[in-house]
Amino acid sequence: MRIILSEDNDILRKSLSFFLESKGFTVDQFADGKDALKAIENNSYDLILTDINMPGISGMEITQHVRQKIGSDIPIIIFTSSGVEQTELDSFDIGANEFMAKPVSPAVLLVRINKLLSTRV
């Protein structure tokens, strides 16, 4: 399974990537939203994991682009440090499948990823 991880916090991105790779996933990681979007357009992924606040393009814009321009139904998990209810509502509104507020538990994240991937197969 190939996952794209878009997160600008270096240590969080690298640690999540390490964790997911140790669970058997192939992870492509990006610190910039624009680069992540380019990779999504040029490659085939099974799941998108993205932060909202990022340089280049935000996680919201990536989600919107994937759903409206590319027209893909690939599972998207958004995570953010914002605890604002409206952000969560907006995320689901534009087509995200899951929303996780930081701090995150990698174990819970893994369960959600597996759940989304199993429902898609």
Partner: protein, 273 residues
């Protein structure tokens, strides 16, 4: 005086004065240039070291968090045992572990807390509290609060009475995270007005850390400092503490001024409707 005037009029001083001025200017420029070069190269060296340290720190962190490597094993790592004695390495390590802890919760966060204590980083944070520089103190406070070191509460509360506003707010935020309302009860005897910005920060900290135990907020309403009373009312209103309504009713009856009375009535209206 006359001699001095004659010396001035003779113009003999002009040439040596100009030469000395030029020498002084060139010397000062050279010194400043060298200082800038030294400062830049120090920063570049630190950045290089940071990149180098980051690689080792990431390796260590991931093995602690995801591979359950005990600290006794990490201590034996050659790279770690040498670098752990260097202050800058410990600084970068503390920054990384704090950053990761902010983003993780559950069992993974507990593992980081354990590493923070076993590696002695906790002692570095306590040392930072003794620094004369407020920004270093803030760093120490933030680290101790992030790792929920409740023993640091008494020391941090002392910092919350500091005159430096940033330090004060950082300390209050940390205290609220560690001990909830216990950290603000001392404000009842606060002699100076608490501005709106500080009040908003305090309320924000309560909301952010989702403090369940709100015992003692009512004491703020008994303060002689009206800004403290206003803070108490705002906390009751924002956190929707309906169990504190009787205290607000009491305040309406014996309000020290019209402003507090109106505020208290507004809180009552919000909570009882």
């Amino acid at each position: 005086m006359i001699k001095l005037w004659e010396f001035y009029k003779s113009g003999d001083w002009v040439e040596p004065f100009l030469i000395d001025s030029i020498i002084l200017f060139i010397a000062a420029s050279c010194i400043l240039y060298l200082l800038i070069i030294a400062s830049r190269s120090k920063k570049i060296k630190r950045e290089r070291l940071r990149i180098e340290y980051d690689k080792l720190i990431e390796k260590l962190m991931f093995s602690v968090v995801f591979q359950d490597t005990p600290f006794s094993e990490i201590k034996e790592d050659k790279g770690y045992s040498v670098l752990s004695k260097k202050a800058f390495f410990r600084e970068v390590l503390a920054e990384s572990i704090t950053n990761l802890h902010k983003n993780y919760e559950g069992v993974y966060a507990r593992k980081l807390e354990q590493f923070y204590k076993e590696s002695g980083l906790i002692n570095d944070s306590f040392k930072k509290l003794k620094s004369l520089k407020w920004e270093v103190k803030c760093k120490g406070i933030t680290e101790l609060a992030e790792f929920n070191v409740a023993e640091a509460f008494e020391k941090i509360i002392t910092a919350s009475k500091d005159r430096n506003k940033t330090l004060k707010l950082t300390a209050i935020n940390a205290c609220i995270k560690l001990e909830g309302t216990r950290s603000i009860v001392h404000l009842t005897e606060h002699p100076y007005p608490i501005d709106n910005w500080t009040q908003l920060n305090i309320i924000g900290a309560f909301k952010k850390h989702d403090i369940g135990d709100i015992k003692g907020v009512e004491f703020l309403l008994e303060s002689e400092n009206t800004t403290v009373v206003a803070l108490g009312l705002k906390l009751i209103k924002e956190l929707k503490l309906t169990q504190k309504v009787p205290y607000v009713v009491q305040l309406v009856n014996k309000a020290p001024n019209t402003f507090i009375k109106c505020e208290a009535q507004s809180v009552l209206q919000t909570l009882t409707v």
